[in-house]
Symmetry: C2
Subunit: 349 residues, 2 copies
């Protein structure tokens, strides 16, 4: 009876308390390898043996140690997400979409925030992530970043979401250009001579695309292109710009680059006594759930963030599982015009 272990715990020394495969193996009277096979649902284990091992696992409350597994296999079951602020609706919804899709595939998410999307910060975040053990990374590149000069460690699959990095990496984004075109054409179709644009900040990818497409749509239609006004995505900036627009009698249609700024614009128009949509039509972009309940309800462009997240994860998993780089280039997620009360046909000045 000398060498008999107490039976409850085996690991001494640096053991960290939790039962290990060896403990399960001992209890079930099999080798650790067989326990591993059961834990990973492998074949070539007799049914009776499997039951015995499972019983031992339950008895000890065994949990596989992911760190050890990762060390042995080089795979982690985790996708890293680098995101700028979670204060923006789109970023959050993209994150949510990625999280949902990843979970469905048995992957978890390692989230790293950056206070600013500078190379320094993104490189640090990337380092923290790869160091932190991930199989792939999604960068929610809401702000313009020069992907070429980013020094990412090689061999880690990357997907860019909401970005422009299509030349360097596989990328996924809503059809920003199509959405801006839909919005602008919608307002022109309603009879407005032209459309004013409240753009997002110039360092934002989405803002650039929407801005460029708005301009192009007007030019193609042979309409005058009014001065662009730049906001910062917040309702506050929309409100300030709206105050300026409200004072211009020739303004009859405004396309704001997101719903929050549209809200601010509408508020400013109200305060100035200009009716929406009676005097001025306003269209937003994003379709936040609240936008339908603004006063008036906001005509806007709906994005499918869940689909975007799913595609990000799919591309990443393909790279991870096939062990080959995915094709570069942009996958475009369709958008949809949602017409509500904030836009109406123009009766003329």
């Amino acid at each position: 009876m000398t060498a008999v272990d107490g039976g409850s715990r085996a690991g001494r020394g640096r053991g960290h308390g939790a039962p290990s495969m060896a403990d399960v193996a001992r209890l079930a009277g099999v080798s650790p390898q067989t326990v591993s096979r059961v834990a990973n649902n492998r074949t070539n284990v007799e049914e009776a043996t499997r039951e015995r091992v499972l019983a031992a696992m339950r008895a000890l409350g065994y949990q596989p140690n992911i760190a050890a597994r990762a060390l042995a296999t080089g795979r982690f079951g985790t996708i890293g997400v680098i995101s700028f602020t979670l204060n923006r609706y789109g970023n959050v919804r993209t994150l949510d979409g990625i999280t949902t899709a990843a979970r469905a595939e048995g992957f978890s998410i390692s989230l790293v925030g950056v206070t600013a999307l500078t190379h320094q910060e993104v490189n640090d975040a990337f380092t923290r992530l790869t160091t932190q053990a991930v199989d792939g990374v999604v960068i929610i590149e809401s702000e313009v970043l020069d992907m070429r000069s980013l020094r990412l460690p090689p061999g880690v699959p990357v997907v860019i979401s909401d970005g422009h990095g299509g030349e360097e990496f596989p990328a996924v984004d809503s059809d920003q250009a199509g959405g801006a075109r839909l919005a602008t054409e919608h307002l022109l179709d309603l009879g407005h001579p032209t459309v004013w644009h409240v753009a997002g900040p110039p360092d934002s990818n989405s803002a650039r695309h929407r801005h460029a497409s708005w301009r192009q749509t007007l030019e193609r239609a042979g309409r005058p292109v009014p001065q662009v006004l730049f906001g910062d995505w917040t309702a506050e900036s929309g409100y300030l710009i709206g105050g300026y627009l409200a004072a211009l009698p020739e303004v009859s249609a405004v396309f704001a680059a997101n719903d929050q700024m549209a809200l601010g614009v509408i508020r400013a128009l109200h305060e100035a006594g200009r009716a929406v949509p009676g005097d001025v039509s306003v269209v937003g972009f994003d379709d936040m759930p609240e936008s339908a309940y603004f006063w008036p309800g906001l005509t806007t462009i709906r994005q499918d963030f869940d689909q975007g997240g799913r595609i990000c994860v799919d591309i990443l998993l393909e790279q991870i599982r096939m062990r080959r780089p995915a094709e570069k280039g942009m996958r475009v997620v369709p958008v949809e015009l949602v017409v509500r009360g904030s836009s109406a046909s123009w009766r003329g000045a």
Copy 2:
């Protein structure tokens, strides 16, 4: 020349490509142990040696392998977050606060979404996380959950955010009761005979607290307690309930349990031709950035989500670093009444 390694890579067999400490050690002409000391910023390394090692690290692009470190130390540098939907403003802001605070402490976040906050789901998520190697877990318990019957593996520090789990775990939450009281008293102070309440769903912790405190405040003031109306946090539900309230001439003040529902209520009142705040005052809860730009601007209760996140992380880190359980019980984060245009003194019926 027989046994000489090519010099570029050392690991064969199952080596996963990335340079290891051994590679750095070889290049710098020191032992792996010394490299480890440098990598971890330990003392007792001569300055010249440290420089040499750092140079070798840079030359090889060395990144420590976190899985191996975790396996050796039993610590992971990661905090797990279990959250119900990211569709709710409060959840997102809490997550953001936690992420920011964690990063400041050098921790990263492992995010696990659950589709429903059932025991089954939370247990699974918890298993996935502990298995996934975290040093502690924050549960954003936006929905009521019986923490006692939750079977969490022992030894993993846990903090509950936005929950009621104060008896079982340390917990952090905004001063829900105080906020609801402030909102209700504000409306009473304006001369309203009583205050109607649009509550959140009954399975939500915050909704319960706000509801109970609203009721208590009215009772203490000796005012009649009108029928409670339950929404589901969405603007849509607020709109439906608002339609009902708009038809009741005795309604002069409404306290909605969040800003979105308040938005829906205001919209319904507008449509019914009841002026806000002329005929009806409306107060919300959360202070989303947009709320200031509703029409009229929304009087609401501001929560400090960043502070909440910081406290969650602090409590967790104390447990992790001190290796002793934190005190159970609730830490209350103060809230603040923000008065805007949607509430005004009542001129009588």
